[in-house]
C-alpha cells in the first residue's frame, strides 16, 4: 500500500495542524494544566516538605470547613434561584416590543458591567449601615430597621442582594433565547384559545429549559466560588457567617501564609463544585432530553 505523504507544494505537513493550534495548547498547558497539577502537589505539602494528605485530614477534622461550606451552600441556594427568577422576569419584560426598549435593556445590564468593584461595594456599604439609605427607606414605610452587618442572616442576605442586583448577564442569555422562540408557536396557541400564563408554562419554559440549565450551572459555579463581595463588604463576619470557602482559601494563603492548606482547600472546593454540577446533570438529564 502506498504511503501518503503530506509534503506538498503548499507546505502543509503533518505538524501544520498542531502548529496552528499550538497557541491554545501552550496556553492551556501553562495556564491550566500546570497550575492545576502544581496546586494539587502543593496541597500535599506544608509549603515546603511533603506531608501526604495531612492537610486534607486537618481540614476535614476541623469545624471551619463545615462552617464555610454551610455558608457557601446556603448562599448559593438562596442566590441562584432568586437570580434566575429575577433575570427571567426581567428578560420577559424586556422582550416586549416597546418604544425605547433598547435603553431599558442597556440600563438593566449596567450593574453587571460595574460588577463587585470597590466603588460599588463602598456605595453598598453606606447603603446598608444602621442609619443608611436602606434602613431609612424601611422606616419610611413603617418597617423596623434591619441590622444588616451585625445580624448573621441579614449580612449574608445583603451579599445575596448585591449579587442579585447584577442579574444582567443571566438576563441577556435568557433574552437571546426568548427571541429565538418562534412567534408562530404563540400565535397558534392564541388561536387555540391559550392564555398568557398557559403560553408561558407550555411554550416559553419548555423552550428555555436548556438555557435555564446553563444559567443554573454557571450561576451555581460562580456562587460557590464567591469571594470578593463578602471579603470587602463584611470581612467574613459576623461570627464567620459570611465566610465562604473562597474567603477561607484566601485567608489560609495570604493571611496565614499556609500554601499547603490553601491549595488543599481549593481542591476540596473544586471537588464539591464538580459533585454539585454532576448531580445537576443527572437530576435534570431526562428533563432536558424530553420534548
Amino acid at each position: 500500500m502506498k504511503t501518503r505523504t503530506y509534503r506538498n507544494p503548499t507546505g502543509v505537513s503533518r505538524y501544520t495542524g498542531l502548529l496552528l493550534i499550538s497557541p491554545f495548547i501552550i496556553g492551556a498547558l501553562l495556564l491550566i494544566v500546570y497550575p492545576f497539577v502544581s496546586s494539587f502537589i502543593t496541597g500535599l505539602t506544608d509549603g515546603s516538605s511533603f506531608v501526604g494528605f495531612e492537610n486534607y485530614k486537618h481540614i476535614l477534622s476541623d469545624g471551619q470547613i463545615r462552617s464555610s461550606a454551610a455558608v457557601t451552600l446556603k448562599y448559593a441556594l438562596i442566590l441562584v434561584p432568586l437570580k434566575l427568577i429575577v433575570s427571567l422576569a426581567a428578560a420577559l419584560v424586556l422582550n416586549m416590543e416597546l418604544r425605547g426598549i433598547g435603553i431599558f435593556r442597556t440600563a438593566f445590564y449596567i450593574p453587571s458591567i460595574l460588577g463587585a468593584n470597590l466603588a460599588v461595594i463602598i456605595m453598598w456599604q453606606y447603603l446598608f449601615t444602621s442609619d443608611g439609605l436602606v434602613n431609612q427607606l424601611l422606616e419610611t414605610v413603617g418597617l423596623s430597621p434591619v441590622s444588616w452587618y451585625g445580624d448573621p442572616n441579614a449580612a449574608l442576605f445583603m451579599i445575596v442582594l448585591l449579587r442579585l442586583w447584577e442579574f444582567g448577564s443571566t438576563m441577556i442569555i435568557f433574552l437571546a433565547a426568548l427571541r429565538d422562540i418562534p412567534r408562530e408557536l404563540y400565535e397558534a396557541a392564541r388561536v387555540d384559545g391559550c392564555g398568557r400564563a398557559r403560553a408561558f408554562f407550555s411554550i416559553t419554559l419548555p423552550q428555555l429549559k436548556n438555557v435555564i440549565f446553563i444559567n443554573l450551572v454557571l450561576q451555581t459555579i460562580a456562587a460557590m466560588q464567591e469571594f470578593n463581595a463578602p471579603y470587602i463588604l463584611t470581612g467574613g463576619g459576623p461570627l464567620g457567617k459570611t465566610r465562604t470557602i473562597g474567603m477561607y482559601i484566601y485567608e489560609e494563603m495570604f493571611t496565614y501564609g499556609d500554601a499547603g492548606m490553601a491549595n488543599a482547600l481549593s481542591w476540596l472546593l473544586f471537588m464539591l463544585i464538580a459533585l454539585i454540577v454532576f448531580i445537576m446533570y443527572r437530576v435534570t438529564g431526562t428533563l432536558r432530553r424530553d420534548g
Binding site: L18, V37, Q125, F128, D131, Y149, G235, F254, G257
Partner: protein, 436 residues
C-alpha cells in the same frame, strides 16, 4: 499528535513536581561598597500623615541621590500583610520594606528571608542604636531588620466629647467602667475596642490581666503564660466593658461602621465614640480626622492601688532589605538615610513613632519637633513597668483565635468559660505547631 500532547502534559506535571520539590534558590547579591545608578522599590503601610511625610522624604533623597530612583509603594494596614506575603512568596518584594515585628517569624524563620544587614555596615550606620534595640531585628544571629521606633498602645480621647459630658479621663479601670454611665445617657461611648485588623479588644483585656496577675500573656520565646482561668477572666473583663456601655458591642460596631476602620467611622469622627486604644506610632490617623488639638493622650490605666504595670511595648516597625535585592549597597544607603539623616528625620517627624535612632532623635530634639501624642504616649510607657510584646502574640493566626473568642462572647453564642477553653486549646496547638 495525541502522543505529543500527552508528552507535553507529562512535562508540565514534571515541571510542577520539580517546582514544588526544589527549595527556592535565593542568590544573594554581595555588597560592592559603591553606590551605582539604579532603581529601588520601597514599601510601607500607614495613614495619610505617614504617606505624605515619606513621599517628601523620598523627594529629598532624589535631590541628594539623583542617580538612585526610589519608587514608593504604600497603602493602609488592612490587607498589607497579605500583599507582602504574596510578594515574598513570589520573590517580587520591594528592595526596602517597612515590616511588622511578627513578620520576622513568618517570613524569615531561619534568618534568611531578609538581607543580613550586618553585611552592609559600609553604607548602613547603626552606631545610633543600642544593642538591645537592634536585637529585636535579629533572627538566628542575623540582623534581618532595624527597629524604627519602639511603641506601645496608649489611650487617646476626644477632649471635646469629654468636656461636653464634664468627665475627666479615666485613671483606673474602675474610673473607666464608671464612665459608661456618664456617656450612656448621651448614647455615646467613652472609648472603643475592635476585633478587626486592630484587635484592640483582646489587647486591653491582656493588659488588665497582666497587671492583675503579673503573668505575661505569651513569653518572648512563644510559651503561653496565661492559664485558662486568666483567659476566661480577660474575656469576662471585656464583657464587663460591653455590659457597662464603655464600648460598643461587636454587633453595634459592625452595624454602624460596616467593615470600616474606627478612624474612618462617622461615630468616631462625630465624637460619639470618644476614645481609642492605639499605637503611639500610628495615632496620627486618628488625630487627623478630628479638629486640631482635640485628640489628647490619657493616662495608662492602673488598678485602685495605682499599679499601672502590664502595659506593653514592641518595635512598632522595622526596616528590612529584601534578600533578593540586586542593589544591597544602595538599599542600605536609603535605609541609612531614613534612619539617620537629619533633614529626613525632620520631614518624617514622629509619623513612625519616636525614632529609635539617636541621630534622628537628636535632630528632632534640636528642632523642637519631638512633641505631640506619640511623644506623650512614649513618655508614659517609658515611666511605667512595661512588658515587651512577644512576636508570637502578634501573629495573624493568633489574632483570629482572640477575635473568634471575643466575637462569640459578645454575640452570646458562647459563655466566657467555653470561649476560654477553645482559645486556650487553639493557642497551645498553634504555638506547638509553629515552633516545630
Amino acid at each position: 499528535m495525541k502522543n505529543i500532547i500527552i508528552k507535553a502534559a507529562a512535562l508540565c506535571c514534571a515541571l510542577s513536581l520539580s517546582a514544588c520539590a526544589s527549595k527556592k534558590a535565593v542568590s544573594v547579591t554581595p555588597p560592592d561598597g559603591s553606590l551605582d545608578k539604579c532603581e529601588l522599590r520601597f514599601s510601607w503601610w500607614g495613614g495619610d500623615d505617614r504617606h505624605e511625610a515619606t513621599l517628601k522624604a523620598i523627594d529629598l533623597w532624589s535631590k541628594k541621590h539623583p542617580d538612585i530612583i526610589v519608587t514608593p509603594e504604600y497603602g493602609g494596614w488592612d490587607g498589607w500583610t497579605e500583599k507582602v506575603t504574596a510578594q515574598m512568596k513570589g520573590g517580587t518584594e520591594p528592595d526596602i520594606m517597612q515590616i511588622n515585628y511578627d513578620w520576622l517569624i513568618t517570613m524569615s524563620p531561619d534568618g534568611k528571608g531578609f538581607y543580613d544587614l550586618d553585611a552592609l555596615s559600609g553604607t548602613l550606620d547603626l552606631s545610633g542604636f543600642d544593642e538591645d534595640t537592634l536585637s529585636f531585628g535579629r533572627v538566628d544571629g542575623k540582623l534581618n531588620a532595624v527597629t524604627v521606633s519602639l511603641s506601645g498602645r496608649g489611650l487617646f480621647y476626644n477632649s471635646q466629647a469629654y468636656d461636653s459630658i464634664g468627665a475627666d479621663y479615666p485613671k483606673t479601670w474602675s474610673d473607666l467602667i464608671e464612665l459608661g454611665d456618664s456617656f450612656g445617657g448621651e448614647d455615646a461611648y467613652p472609648m472603643d475596642l475592635d476585633i478587626q485588623s486592630g484587635g484592640t479588644a483582646w489587647y486591653l483585656a491582656v493588659v488588665y490581666i497582666q497587671q492583675k496577675t503579673g503573668r505575661q500573656f505569651i513569653t518572648l520565646d512563644g510559651e503561653l503564660g496565661f492559664t485558662e482561668e486568666d483567659i476566661r477572666d480577660a474575656l469576662d473583663f471585656y464583657k464587663l466593658l460591653e455590659d457597662n456601655h464603655v464600648i460598643r458591642t461587636v454587633k453595634a460596631r459592625t452595624d454602624e461602621d460596616g467593615n470600616a476602620a474606627l478612624y474612618q467611622s462617622p461615630e468616631f469622627i462625630g465624637g460619639n465614640v470618644a476614645g481609642v486604644l492605639e499605637w503611639g506610632s500610628a495615632v496620627g490617623k486618628y488625630e487627623a480626622v478630628l479638629p486640631k488639638g482635640v485628640l489628647e493622650a490619657g493616662p495608662l490605666l492602673a488598678d485602685d492601688n495605682g499599679n499601672n504595670s502590664g502595659w506593653m511595648i514592641k518595635p512598632s516597625l522595622l526596616y528590612a532589605v529584601s534578600g533578593h535585592t540586586k542593589h544591597p549597597d544602595e538599599a542600605a544607603a536609603f535605609v541609612d538615610f531614613l534612619l539617620n539623616d537629619e533633614e529626613c528625620a525632620e520631614i518624617l517627624g514622629t509619623t513612625r513613632g519616636i525614632p529609635a535612632s539617636m541621630k534622628a532623635r537628636a535632630a528632632l530634639e534640636k528642632s523642637g519637633s519631638l512633641t505631640g501624642l506619640s511623644k506623650e504616649c512614649e513618655d508614659m510607657l517609658s515611666e511605667a513597668d512595661t512588658i515587651t510584646i512577644s512576636p508570637y502574640m502578634e501573629l495573624t493566626r493568633m489574632k483570629s483565635f482572640y477575635n473568634a473568642a471575643i466575637g462569640s462572647v459578645s454575640y452570646g453564642t458562647a459563655d466566657t468559660q467555653t470561649a476560654a477553653e477553645q482559645m486556650y486549646r487553639s493557642i497551645n496547638e498553634y504555638l506547638e505547631k509553629i515552633k516545630k
